[in-house]
């Protein structure tokens, strides 16, 4: 089966007072219907920027500087705005991070959930409202008919996130991006939201791209993972393979820093240093200044994301040394 979404050498630039910086470089990945791909990385690594570039909702200071985003083979980045809007919902859809501010405070949630049907299916107010109520019921809002007339501030954080998910899946998107959908929520609510996303993915045969910094979420939810560092992808593969035997030193550092069975009193492991400022990314490999395996070649040549074993890729000159461990 062909991938429904292919991202090919995507690059995003941001204008800052200190000059233009490249926030996303050479990002390529693909995802198939019914599959979940996790985009894993620390804050500021460019994962949200990548998601916003894919759905065409970058902030005004950022713009796509190169690459293609192909939905069913068509590059959406070159489509005229009106055609692109037609895909927003049924083609590509996104669940935003901050459920507390992502709903319009002065419209009833019923009206907001009805909007996709009003725009794309040109339904009447009444018919769209009916569909909105069905959606609310599907995502587990109790008493949906009565609650459709309520305003966002009358819902809890978890319920608002459910509403946002309902909004994103209203038109059965081919690809659903979820940008840290559970970060703002209580731990107990997080599990329910992830379960809802998983059920909807299976039900609608949607390709799900899960953007997260949470290794546990990746392990539980995703089929494939793409690890991002300083705007680029450093490793991809099946989650089980990557987590069992990472083939990039950054991935290994992340996995090592998970608190496991550590004796009381010993320090938790961490990666030395901190991610680079985008204004001063090291030459060659961006990770080399924090990498235990770094050699001269790492400073001279930027390692391309290349085949590193069956169905996986790594952007490291020394991945074989990790594979031999």
């Amino acid at each position: 089966m062909n991938p429904v979404l292919e991202v090919d050498r995507l690059a995003v630039d941001i204008r800052t007072p200190a000059g233009t910086v490249r926030a996303v470089r050479e990002v390529s990945f693909s995802v198939r219907s019914g599959e979940t791909l996790a985009l894993l990385g620390e804050s500021g690594c460019g994962k949200s920027m990548t998601a916003q570039a894919i759905v065409g909702l970058l902030d005004p200071v950022a713009h796509v500087a190169g690459g293609e985003v192909r939905l069913d083979g068509t590059d959406v980045l070159t489509l005229p705005p009106a055609q692109r809007r037609r895909l927003a919902g049924p083609g590509l859809s996104i669940v935003f991070q901050d459920a507390l501010t992502a709903l319009n405070p002065i419209q009833t949630v019923g009206a907001q959930l009805a909007e996709p049907f009003r725009i794309h299916e040109r339904l009447s107010r009444r018919a769209a409202r009916e569909r909105a109520v069905e959606l609310m019921e599907r995502v587990g809002i109790p008493e949906p008919r009565a609650r459709a007339g309520a305003y966002p501030h009358q819902f809890s954080g978890g319920m608002r996130q459910r509403l946002l998910i309902a909004l994103a899946v209203a038109l059965h998107p081919k690809v659903l991006l979820a940008d840290e959908p559970t970060t703002a929520l209580d731990v107990t609510v997080q599990a329910q939201i992830m379960e809802l996303l998983r059920d909807l993915r299976t039900e609608q045969q949607t390709a799900l791209i899960l953007i997260t910094h949470d290794l546990a979420v990746v392990a539980e939810q995703a089929d494939h993972v793409a690890v991002m560092y300083a705007g680029g992808i450093v490793e991809t593969g099946r989650v089980a393979d990557v987590f069992a035997k990472p083939r990039h030193p950054y991935t290994r550092g992340l996995l090592d820093s998970v608190p496991g069975e550590v004796a009381r009193g010993t320090n938790l492991k961490s990666i030395p240093g901190s991610p680079p400022d985008l204004h001063a990314v090291p030459s060659g490999c961006a990770f080399r200044t924090r990498c235990p395996l770094a050699t001269d070649v790492c400073a001279e040549q930027r390692p391309p994301l290349a085949e590193a074993g069956q169905g996986r890729m790594s952007a490291c000159h020394h991945w074989k040394e990790l594979a031999d461990d």
């Binding site: 927003a88 919902g89 405070p105 909004l167």
Partner: protein
């Protein structure tokens, strides 16, 4: 909604009585009307007779009590100058002011929404800078200067427009323009600021992610959220206009409430002055209630008294 309105109306009653008391006392500080209406040679007997006829010989408190009792019966007294009921004089002048203020504010708000939204849509663009420069200039324009220059250029030199009067559309152009320019400038800046922050709110991205067109995003989602600050300022500016655009009404000979107030102060025509202020005050209170009702309609949180 009805309880909301009832609460607002009852809470306006006390300030209204205070306003009446204030005007009543201040008016009597302008001087003794007898000096104006009786000949210089008037004898003390004539003066006493004049004061007794109009009740000015009573203690101030008694006068005020009598006045309040009259007002409750909707009797506002008679003009000293023309002997016609004060209410008649005020109600004759007030529509002219209301029409002028109404036309001005409608144009100012419409213009400011269009220009302010357009500027906010692309912050720091050329359009935005032009709008900012124009609105700052407009907001700082002295209206009496603009009025006089307008008369000089368009009425005297070019002869396109009349210098004064209310007859025909042409007579409206200069007064409305003069009154419009400052509210327009102020409102453009308020609308722009509110729209810039509304358009950068997360729910705007969500609206776009649904495939909403730009018109729907700007006017359907952002503008309603940006409305409250603009409404506050527009309400304030309207109050200023209803109060009587004294300068503009004087320059253009517009027979409105501002002109009437000035005349009645100069004539020590207390009954007319009091009636004019009272009608204006009631209108302003009503206007504020309307504005509050608008907030409540716009935002359910106000309606329910939620502090979110």
């Amino acid at each position: 909604m009805l309880t909301f309105l009832r609460r607002r109306i009852t809470s306006s009653a006390i300030p209204l009585v205070v306003v009446i008391l204030g005007v009543f006392c201040l008016a009597r500080l302008t001087g003794d009307p007898a000096n104006l209406y009786l000949p210089l040679s008037a004898t003390p007997e004539m003066r006493a007779e004049f004061a007794a006829r109009h009740g000015f010989d009573q203690p101030l408190l008694v006068q005020f009590g009598d006045y309040l009792a009259q007002v409750v019966r909707l009797d506002f007294g008679e003009s000293l100058r023309t002997a016609e009921p004060a209410a008649t004089a005020v109600l004759r002048a007030f529509p002219a002011t209301l029409q002028l203020a109404g036309a001005t504010m409608i144009l100012a708000i419409l213009g400011a929404v269009v220009v302010g939204s357009w500027a906010a849509y692309r912050p720091n663009s050329v359009a935005d800078r032009v709008a900012s420069f124009t609105s700052t200039t407009a907001a700082s324009m002295p209206d009496f200067w603009f009025a006089i220059m307008g008369v000089l250029v368009f009425a005297v030199a070019l002869g396109w427009l009349p210098t004064s009067g209310t007859v025909g559309a042409a007579a409206w152009v200069l007064p409305v323009l003069t009154l419009l320019i400052r509210p327009f400038g102020v409102l453009v800046q308020v609308v722009r600021g509110a729209m810039v922050s509304a358009l950068s709110a997360p729910y705007i991205k969500v609206a776009r992610s649904k495939g909403a067109g730009e018109v729907r995003v700007v006017f359907g989602h952002a503008l309603r959220n940006a409305a409250p600050p603009a409404l506050t300022v527009a309400g304030d500016l309207t109050v200023g206009l209803v109060n009587g655009a004294v300068v503009v009404e004087t320059i253009f000979g517009w027979p409105g409430i501002g002109k009437l107030m000035i005349t009645s102060i100069l004539q020590r025509d207390f009954a007319v002055l009091q009636a004019a202020v009272l009608v204006t005050a009631v209108t302003i209170f009503a206007l504020n209630i309307v504005i509050d009702a608008c907030y409540a309609l716009l935002d359910s949180r106000v309606r329910q008294g939620v502090t979110a």
